[in-house]
């Protein structure tokens, strides 16, 4: 390239020699030096200025085609040309290096920025690892492998396109993990390995190892690339540590919640299963006891109580089964357009004797469209809701069931005139095993509304609780209307 430049310059100079004095032709040679310095770097620029001096001497300075110099004046021209050439090439080279450095710095900054931006939105470990792999891989144009410590052992993080590692690489990874120092291609340790591996560590602890591998022929990272990798990995390690700590906290909370739930479940079940059994056993043993002289009325009362308790036990078992099925996703919903009036009527029929003398008002809007629902399950939901209404309101207080069409849905409201629901409990009453604490004499498992919510939501419907302005609780159900299917 230097040769070509000088040759072009010389050709031009020889052509212009007849019009210009040799002193001015020096400018053309200077131009070649500047071009070389600007585009080719320092070495070629120096070479260009030396070649320039030689060819200037050889071709231009009289006597032409000879190294000999006729006029000593030209010696100064030579020296100036060389000095200027060297100076320019040095300055240009410095500028180029600075530019290169800025460009690299910019690249690092944007790579770091891209990574931190992706890490900021990633919360789970898997998402963080994915962000790291994508960003590091993109920035360095290499494949990235991540190993994370899990219960003391180092495990490779599974990715979709996982390439198998050979034994040697595995050894490098182990070495990096143990010594907490980088190793692999281009490093002191394992310099002949196909990849380069760095520890994922924060100030407090080491979390794993990250490796980069060329996609084709192994090619060592340059020093700036290694610096960049170090910066990226430092940031990645911080994000991973944060996620791991969050995960540990969450697991602890979950465990605590599960334990609480299990305790509540055991408490609730042992109480609710045992109470009816105690009553039934008591009634039966009394009836069996020949010594006890019971009149017919007392016998009937005992039998009646035992029967009610047995029914209660049955409802409890059904609720527990339903809850299990809902949670296992085993509850099959068979939705069809159904007459809501029929659903409400069937629920009242099923409640049967439990309704006693309770006044029930059913208020169904004229021309109410059919709702798309599973008949049996929604009857079950209404039975649960009305059972609550019965339990939480006075024996003579009326219960109202309303049904109407609202914005493409069928709305069913069950309204009682009882004590209502404390505002802070309006949402929580749908939680499993949650029961409003106020009336202690009311029995139940706290499963009915949780099951109802599960069933209604599986229908694509909604259920919520309100307090009526005039007192009493309202449970509202919204289910899809027939033509909206």
């Amino acid at each position: 390239m230097s040769l070509e430049l000088v040759a072009t310059g010389t050709g031009l100079s020889v052509f212009l020699k007849q019009y210009l004095s040799p002193t001015n032709l020096v400018m053309i040679y200077l131009l070649t030096v500047v071009i070389a310095a600007g585009y080719l770097g320092r070495g070629p620029a120096i070479l260009t200025s030396l070649l320039g001096v030689l060819s200037f001497d050889f071709f231009i300075i009289p006597p032409a085609m000879s190294v000999a110099v006729a006029d000593t004046e030209y010696v100064l021209t030579f020296i100036s040309l060389l000095a200027v050439g060297l100076l320019i090439s040095t300055l240009m080279a410095q500028q180029r290096e600075q530019l290169e450095a800025i460009r690299l710095y910019e690249g690092e900054t944007s790579a770091l920025y891209a990574l931190s931006r992706d890490l900021a939105v990633a919360e789970e470990i898997a998402a963080i690892v994915l962000a790291i792999v994508t960003n590091v891989g993109h920035t360095l144009a290499r494949d990235v492998v991540v190993f994370l410590a899990e219960d003391g052992a180092l495990r490779r993080f599974p990715l979709d396109d996982t390439v198998p590692l050979d034994v040697q690489e595995r050894a490098v990874v182990e070495w990096v993990w143990t010594t907490r120092r980088p190793a692999g291609l281009g490093a002191e340790q394992y310099g002949d390995a196909p990849g380069y591996y760095v520890p994922l560590k924060t100030a407090q602890r080491a979390l794993g190892v990250l490796g980069v591998r060329s996609r084709e022929e192994p090619e060592a990272l340059t020093a700036p690339q290694r610096r960049l990798l170090e910066a990226l990995v430092g940031q990645a390690a911080l994000a991973l540590e944060r996620a791991q700590l969050a995960e540990i906290t969450r697991r602890a909370q979950l465990l605590e919640a599960t334990e609480k739930l299990q305790a509540a479940l055991l408490n609730s079940i042992s109480h609710d299963l045992r109470t009816p059994l105690v009553t039934i056993t008591g009634a039966l043993t009394t009836l069996d006891d020949a010594e006890t002289a019971l009149n017919a009325q007392a016998r009937r009362a005992l039998i009646g109580t035992a029967r009610e308790e047995a029914e209660r036990l049955n409802r409890l078992v059904e609720n527990l089964l339903d809850m299990t099925r809902l949670e296992a996703g085993a509850l099959r919903i068979r939705q069809a357009p159904e007459d809501v009036q029929d659903v409400i009527g069937s629920a009242l029929e099923e409640l049967g004797p439990r309704l006693g003398q309770r006044p029930i008002r059913v208020d169904i809007a004229a021309n109410l469209p059919f709702a798309v629902l599973d008949f049996v399950l929604i009857v079950h939901v209404l039975v649960n809701i009305m059972d609550n209404a019965l339990k939480y309101s006075a024996p003579g207080a009326p219960i109202t069931v309303q049904a109407r069409a609202v914005a493409g849905e069928v709305e069913i409201r069950v309204i009682d005139q009882g004590i209502g629901i404390p505002p802070e409990d309006l949402l929580r009453i749908f939680d499993k095993f949650y029961r409003v604490q106020r009336p202690t004499h009311v029995s139940g498992t706290g499963l009915g509304l949780a099951i109802s919510k599960g069933i209604v939501e599986a229908h694509g419907g909604r259920i919520w609780a309100e307090n009526a302005p005039e007192g009493g609780a309202v449970i509202v159900l919204r289910l899809p209307q027939e033509h909206t299917l």
């Binding site: 029967r307 047995a310 029914e311 049955n314 059904e318 089964l321 069809a336 357009p337 159904e338 007459d339 009036q341 029929d342 409400i344 009527g345 069937s346 009242l348 029929e349 099923e350 029930i360 059913v362 169904i364 059919f370 008949f375 049996v376 009857v379 069931v401």
Partner: protein, 229 residues
């Protein structure tokens, strides 16, 4: 009552507790009780013991309840009474469609069981061929195709009348959605549940005092309808 006059009931259930509790109650009500623990044993006992009624549990170890019903129906019209738990909804409906007469879901009251057994047996002894049917204030006169409620004529569409007629002729017995659709609308309509829902709703508005708490046409959720006898 002489022993030979007693009605014979075959109880098919693999749970000893259920058989142990059904036997004394049924015997106390003048039934002779036979027992079977499996579907295969039930088929043999039905062929050799000539029961007047079969109480069939759906949860048998060797055979689906539907299958037992289907095989029995190949040669006998003996009333079949299904006992099921709530998880067996589909099987129960299939057994009813296959020809079982009625069902009860466990746990059940003995009073309810005995009442249903009497209905099933009465239908066996003399199929309802009366020209006139009366329940409460509702009177259906088949000869004149006339329905009256408290002596007032009720105007029904032909479909509503057919629906009521089928229900009335099977009074006390549960009819599945499929059975009703087939008998009222004809074969090929078995899955048109919507037709049935609409007509039942209309019929109720015409004959029930309070359609939200129907007295005559009772819904069996997920199964079908029954005319309260």
């Amino acid at each position: 009552m002489e022993k030979k006059d007693k009605l014979r009931v075959l109880v098919v259930d693999d749970e000893r507790a259920i058989r142990r509790f059904l036997r004394p109650v049924l015997e106390a009500h003048q039934y002779t009780v036979m027992e079977a623990e499996t579907g295969a044993a039930a088929l043999t006992a039905a062929a050799t013991g000539h029961p007047d009624l079969i109480i069939l549990d759906l949860g048998l170890p060797d055979m689906e309840g539907t299958e037992v019903t289907r095989r029995l129906r190949e040669w006998t019209t003996v009333p079949i009474f299904i006992l099921s738990v709530r998880e067996q909804e589909n099987d129960k409906i299939a057994a009813l469609d296959a020809g079982a007469d009625d069902y009860l879901t466990k746990p059940f009251g003995m009073g309810e069981l005995l009442a249903r057994l009497r209905v099933a047996l009465r239908r066996r002894v003399q199929p309802d061929a009366r020209a006139r049917f009366e329940v409460g204030a509702l009177v259906v006169d088949f000869a004149r195709r006339l329905v009256t409620l408290d002596q007032h004529e009720v105007a029904l569409t032909p479909t509503e009348y057919d629906l009521l007629r089928v229900l009335v002729q099977n009074a006390g017995k549960v009819l599945t959605h499929h059975q009703l659709l087939r008998q009222v609308w004809g074969p090929g309509y078995e899955n048109e549940l919507h037709l049935l829902r609409v007509n039942v709703s209309n019929l109720r508005h015409k004959i029930e005092t309070n359609p939200s708490r129907p007295h005559y046409i009772v819904t069996e959720p997920g199964v079908g309808y029954r005319l309260r006898a």
